[in-house]
């Protein structure tokens, strides 16, 4: 086939039995309506939460939470967790260009997970805490942040906190940060981050490694265009290198605008199947049209 001349399919891992994707334990984390804000609680009387009708994946009838102010953030409802079990958590966020009244460019945003010894997250003191990487603003676009945590043996509950602060000056007013698609799920599903696209409801993931002139490998960063498409870039999100779109939960098309050496990985999380493609520099990536088999 023509596409195989430059984009070489490396291998397909042996399929494992179909398994369900782990559900998101956070209710109201997609902020589809302003009413979802009621499921979140303020942590400081100098922090504020709002809602805007701008969705991280451009869903027309959804929006995002806006966190701004100082000294705190907004926390989710408490969810029950299992001791010793591994969880992924994170969100999509955009630190906006701040107005003069905000500290603006010094704003950082991240998601923190706090573990408690009781399932209501009420009694005693936290038994554990972790956070995603802090994203410095302004970002110009939504970026996905995520991290992995193992529940402490004495933990029964956990909540997430959405934080937007000025680095080294927590009392200063941070620029508004939009949070969307906040999640906490058991390990085993697609986890979006700055180098991973999760498409088709999280059933497919895509990532790409590119090779520079010296042959060193680097992870390409991603921008989500929608729930079913996104692109990878190397130097700037203004400069897309390859784009992927899905058609249903199994089929996908990858189109290239790059002659970089590439290794592209697409995974079907419902079966564990994984496909890898290679583009050898200086050939421009040929279109890749492929699908995972139904299991």
């Amino acid at each position: 086939m023509r596409l195989r001349s430059f984009a070489l399919l490396l291998f397909v891992l042996v399929a494992v039995p179909t398994f369900a994707l782990p559900p998101n334990l956070i209710v109201g984390g997609s902020f589809d309506t302003p009413e979802d804000l009621q499921k979140w609680r303020i942590t400081s009387n100098k922090a504020f939460l709002g809602w805007v009708g701008l969705d991280s994946q451009s869903r027309p009838a959804s929006g995002s939470a806006t966190v701004f102010g100082s000294l705190g953030g907004y926390r989710s409802q408490c969810v029950e967790v299992t001791p010793g079990r591994e969880y992924d958590y994170g969100a999509r966020l955009m630190v906006t260009h701040g107005a003069r009244k905000f500290a603006g460019d010094g704003t950082q945003a991240y998601v923190r997970i706090t573990f408690w010894g009781d399932s209501l997250c009420r009694y005693g003191v936290p038994v554990g805490e972790a956070q995603t990487e802090a994203v410095a603003g302004p970002t110009g676009r939504f970026v996905a942040v995520s991290a992995h945590a193992q529940t402490p043996e004495d933990a029964r509950g956990a909540y997430l906190t959405l934080i937007s602060v000025v680095a080294n000056a927590p009392a200063a007013s941070a620029a508004p940060t939009l949070f969307d698609d906040v999640f906490l799920q058991e390990r085993g599903g697609c986890v979006p981050d700055e180098v991973t696209l999760c498409l088709a409801g999280g059933s497919l993931s895509a990532s790409a490694t590119y090779f520079d002139a010296s042959g060193s490998a680097h992870q390409a960063q991603v921008v989500h265009l929608s729930t079913t498409s996104g692109y990878f870039f190397t130097d700037s999100p203004d400069d897309a290198e390859l784009t992927i779109k899905t058609d249903g939960a199994k089929s996908f098309v990858i189109g290239g605008m790059t002659n970089l050496g590439l290794r592209i990985t697409v995974k079907d999380w419902t079966t564990g199947q994984e496909k890898r493609y290679v583009n050898e520099s200086p050939h421009f990536l040929s279109p890749i049209v492929d699908a995972f088999s139904a299991q």
Binding site: T33, H97, T243, G255, L285
Partner: protein
């Protein structure tokens, strides 16, 4: 070359002098900072149905720039700016619009109007008007434009307005309403690239890109476009969530001139892709008529002298 088996290249160069992109007559149309919103006069249409209307600013840019933002219009009304124009001159105007909506609420409708006046301060009755209407799906920035609006005889000024018509939802005071973000508002002499629902303007407006889907029961149809940045964008068929062709422009002025264009295909539909350097009137047209997924197209525009040459296939 391989891609030529399915891509036919058509080149034409028209002999016109080299000219620079026209300047934007709306100095604050980029809404880079909150302060520029004050340069826009906002008129509120307060009715029994509309509980509030306000103009504000948000640090979210239509092309993803981290150092810019947009004007936010909440409720029915309009924002406008008056600028000087010259009679007999044709003008393009437009903006990038993002319409937010919510279930249970009526989606705002947005348009942009240009009115010409004999008075230098946009006073009195208008002499002529042009209108650009947004029909875009909510949730993404979409460009709207109206092209070649000629200032009539006696016109000395023009009022550029962005209008939001929003029936509102009575009795829901305090609820966040659907809003409209406005960015990259422009009014300039015609002849450059004017971004609209089907047109990408890349490389600072130097390149214009359009796509037509060929064949089908209804003949050729123009593909809608969405711009991701100053230098990249894509075309789609059914939904903006599903790109069919992506394009990016790379400035080569540091290394010999011109602009490299790279087009990636995610479709096997027959298409016609047209890219034009509007400052040099150099145009390239590419076809994918085979029904296969097209190989990546790589080309350079604007590196040739602007002189008359026969159209060549």
């Amino acid at each position: 070359m391989r891609f030529k088996t399915i891509i036919t290249l058509l080149t034409s160069v028209v002999a016109v002098p080299l000219f620079a992109a026209m300047p934007n007559l709306l100095p604050d149309g980029g809404f880079d900072t909150p302060e520029v919103v004050a340069g826009w006069r906002t008129v509120t249409a307060r009715t029994a149905e509309v509980n509030q209307q306000e103009t504000s600013w948000i640090g979210i840019d239509s092309l993803g720039s981290p150092s810019s933002g947009s004007m936010v219009l909440n409720g029915a009304g309009f924002s406008m700016q008056c600028v000087a124009v010259s009679e007999g001159v044709a003008y393009d105007f437009g903006a990038r619009i993002l319409i937010n909506t919510r279930d249970g609420f009526k989606t705002p409708s947005v348009s942009m109007k240009l009115s010409f006046f004999a008075d230098s301060q946009c006073g009195g009755a208008s002499l002529a008007e042009g209108l650009a209407v947004s029909g875009a799906e909510p949730g993404r920035f979409t460009a709207i434009a109206a092209k070649a609006n000629v200032a009539p005889q006696g016109a000395h000024s023009a009022l550029a307005k962005v209008l939001v018509s929003q029936p509102g939802d009575a009795g829901l005071s305090g609820v966040p309403y659907p809003t409209v973000y406005v960015d990259e508002m422009f009014l300039r002499e015609a002849g450059g690239c004017a971004a609209d629902d089907n047109t990408l303007c890349l490389a600072g407006g130097r390149l214009r890109a359009t796509v037509r889907f060929l064949g089908g029961d209804t003949g050729a149809t123009v593909a809608p476009a969405r711009q991701s940045s100053d230098s990249t964008g894509y075309f789609f068929a059914q939904s903006a969530a599903s790109p069919e062709l992506t394009i990016k422009a790379i400035d080569l002025s540091q290394g010999g001139g011109g602009t490299r264009i790279i087009i990636g295909g995610l479709t096997n539909r027959p298409v016609e892709i047209t890219v034009e350097d509007v400052t040099r009137h150099q145009r390239r047209t590419y076809f994918n008529v085979s029904g296969q997924y097209p190989e990546t197209i790589v080309d350079v525009l604007g590196n040739e002298p602007a002189r008359r040459r026969p159209t060549a296939r």
